[in-house]
Symmetry: C2
Subunit: 485 residues, 2 copies
Amino acid sequence: MARAKAEPRQKKDAAAQAPQNASEAPFVIIGGDAAGMSAASKIKREAPEATVIVFEKSPHISYSMCGMPYWIAGEVASKDNLMALTLERARNERDLDVRLHHEVTAIDREAHTVTVKMLETGEEFTQVYAKLVYATGASAAKPPIPGLDLPGVFTLRSLTDAEAIRSFLDENRPRRAVVVGAGYIGLEMVETLRKRGLSVDLVELLPQIMPNMDADMVKPLVGHLREQGVHLHLGAGVRAIVAGDGALDVTVRDAEGNDNVLGVDLVLVSVGVRPNVALASAAGLTIGKSGALAVDSQLRTSDPDIYAAGDCVEYRHIVTGDPAWIPLAPSANKGGRIVGENALGGSAEFPGIAGTAIVKVFDYSLAMTGLTEQAARAHASFGAQGEYVGSATITATDRAGYYPGAAEIRTKLVFDKRDGRLLGGQIVGTAGVNKRIDIVATAMTAKMTLHDVTMLDLSYAPPYSPVYDPILVAAGVGLKDVHQA
Amino acid sequence: MARAKAEPRQKKDAAAQAPQNASEAPFVIIGGDAAGMSAASKIKREAPEATVIVFEKSPHISYSMCGMPYWIAGEVASKDNLMALTLERARNERDLDVRLHHEVTAIDREAHTVTVKMLETGEEFTQVYAKLVYATGASAAKPPIPGLDLPGVFTLRSLTDAEAIRSFLDENRPRRAVVVGAGYIGLEMVETLRKRGLSVDLVELLPQIMPNMDADMVKPLVGHLREQGVHLHLGAGVRAIVAGDGALDVTVRDAEGNDNVLGVDLVLVSVGVRPNVALASAAGLTIGKSGALAVDSQLRTSDPDIYAAGDCVEYRHIVTGDPAWIPLAPSANKGGRIVGENALGGSAEFPGIAGTAIVKVFDYSLAMTGLTEQAARAHASFGAQGEYVGSATITATDRAGYYPGAAEIRTKLVFDKRDGRLLGGQIVGTAGVNKRIDIVATAMTAKMTLHDVTMLDLSYAPPYSPVYDPILVAAGVGLKDVHQA
């Protein structure tokens, strides 16, 4: 596979060639989380003489969003554990000029400046930039439900949100909760709230949990959630939240159109996130079809002096080649580094994302990569009716069937029937899911066919795998549907 | 990646074109374990009208050799659990003519016959074949140590061996054991014998355990074995075993040349295996440099009517392209299927092996794929002094460092400094090793470079992985040593 990476020497030369109107201007980063801090750190590592200013509107930089449910649950002892990079280290060790409570309110592309508002005083100032890195991330989506601003109603996106939820749990000792939305955060928070001793109702508008997986793969979770004492409402929507008698009355309309009122103490709304592109949009930067910021393969926006990475951008999807908005931490981090390299004059290519992800839901792990069968069928590349999309789903033990602790896992591979090329995979089970999905992701990235997968030389020992790994078995089953086979 | 697989139609046509002197002759398989039974089953699946005769000299077919230590330990309840395919199913469901206690003693290639000895009666007969599948496996190596035939001295290769060891443990209640050889079987049996309550001394001629891994990677195991009460003798050899006073006196010469006598009740000799090629050699088939049978990429021996697979053959190594003898179950199974397909006239290619393997040693998992650093340095492809071989070794947590249960794992990647191509990997730790090695194996099979690896979109959630997987971190560290980087 091809690689493109600038020589360190080149980078420094290029960095010296800053725009004429900003020859001494610093690198300016909007947003101090994964993508922004990765970009900032990369710039300083490669060009220690550069000035890098990071404007972050919140009181925090670089924290693990994905760890928040576990901190709220009390499984992670201290909030400090969630800090990937402390402010002190960012300032002292990495020599980054990090400004908290600083919101960038406008970008003047012609003047190469940004307008910055100091949130603590309300004052504004103008900052010139040589290159700008746009890393504003995403925000929790707010569905049009009356009552979202009531006390006891939360979203979970920022550390400030997490602090609010944890304080509410600690101080108010709520007993009943409704979680709205059964995606990653919703499912993780259902587990967290159960661990904190609450009775939990989970309301999902779609007829399945985890809408980014195929329905057939997540079915076993319905029973498991019930075993864990979760009241599941599928195909149901929240109509309104009203302050009731010392609590919140949540009106849920079920799949049959009947309304039920749940009296609860806490509501968590987790119906997804939206890319923070208002600032970019106002500056005239091109927004992609997904609604996230468009970037090229070197993560440059439509303005050659503005780079972007993280949850606010759409990256190239390695399976379809199309831009895709799948906001996840690993691609924010990787994208940030690429942006740092290229802001210095490099020409690093970001190969793209596979959408590989995993979520723990009580005893189950749900993992996915690439296209679901449903997504592949909807994509024009695979036939007008998705007729070239094949799938193979098998159930097998995660280790030798006779070895203690062997658990059944369900493995699904999605492929192009014309040539057997792997398009995606999903694995669900109570053991051995973790990292197995990454074998599929790696094979898919390498554009392997099902036949190639059946020939992979994977590790085997009874405590770890059957002699034919479930992935190989699924590939073998799928191969029967490949035209050339 | 290319694939080659015959159309079912072609296969049947080809099957009908049997050699002139054996037009109605059956397919004959020598050896009824993984490779042989895979080949036999594949032939019957694709050509149900074919006659397939399997000659197996032992009383067993298709059992899980790798499961035997766990059955001896009592962790696997019944020996039946180890049977991958019972004799009844092989005969009745798969319609295979399986003959136990039948040893093939000679191959007459010109006449297309084999001489078969019925071990229960001593009688011999001649069987004609259309195509012959040679799948005789390997046998436990017997080092030149006096006393190997004494009661209480065992090797572990066959189910008969396992039965003998288990009976000895159950009936004689031995208290002290010496295990000779610290490879897979030796290490697994050390654990088994400790679980059965024995005091164990482990004697290894080389200065490290697991000689097929780099010494730096297995060092942590020395302390762990000691914690588990194992007396480890590295760089030490067994000089003799003598029947002592109701026990066995084992003379161990240590690294300094001093002899110590250990009085024990049981000795397990596990110093590796040797390919069973005597029969092939006597028939004039080409033997490879490794001492195992040479085959082409379609697993044909030097005789076009004789195919071979499993632990008796050397397969192509996917990293070096050279023939390599690495006898492991997955490639025996895969090779058997390929042989079955090609014996029917197909032209399936076996892409080769990576030597991917994993072994559980008490709380640790040791995993490897491709070339060790040592092996790469010794190979002519990577410079006369191995100067083009690079390696990167890192220690990182298997999941987010703050998540409960996070364990440190050590990851080593071996690569070609000239282009960054991955040559091998090793992972050692107490959690999260399993399947992670298969990501490396898959990337290596796809000929990825370290740069490609750093860009892999792997799954992330705090219970499963840090945001940068250890493999990605190791690749990033290694990249600094790649000339083009």
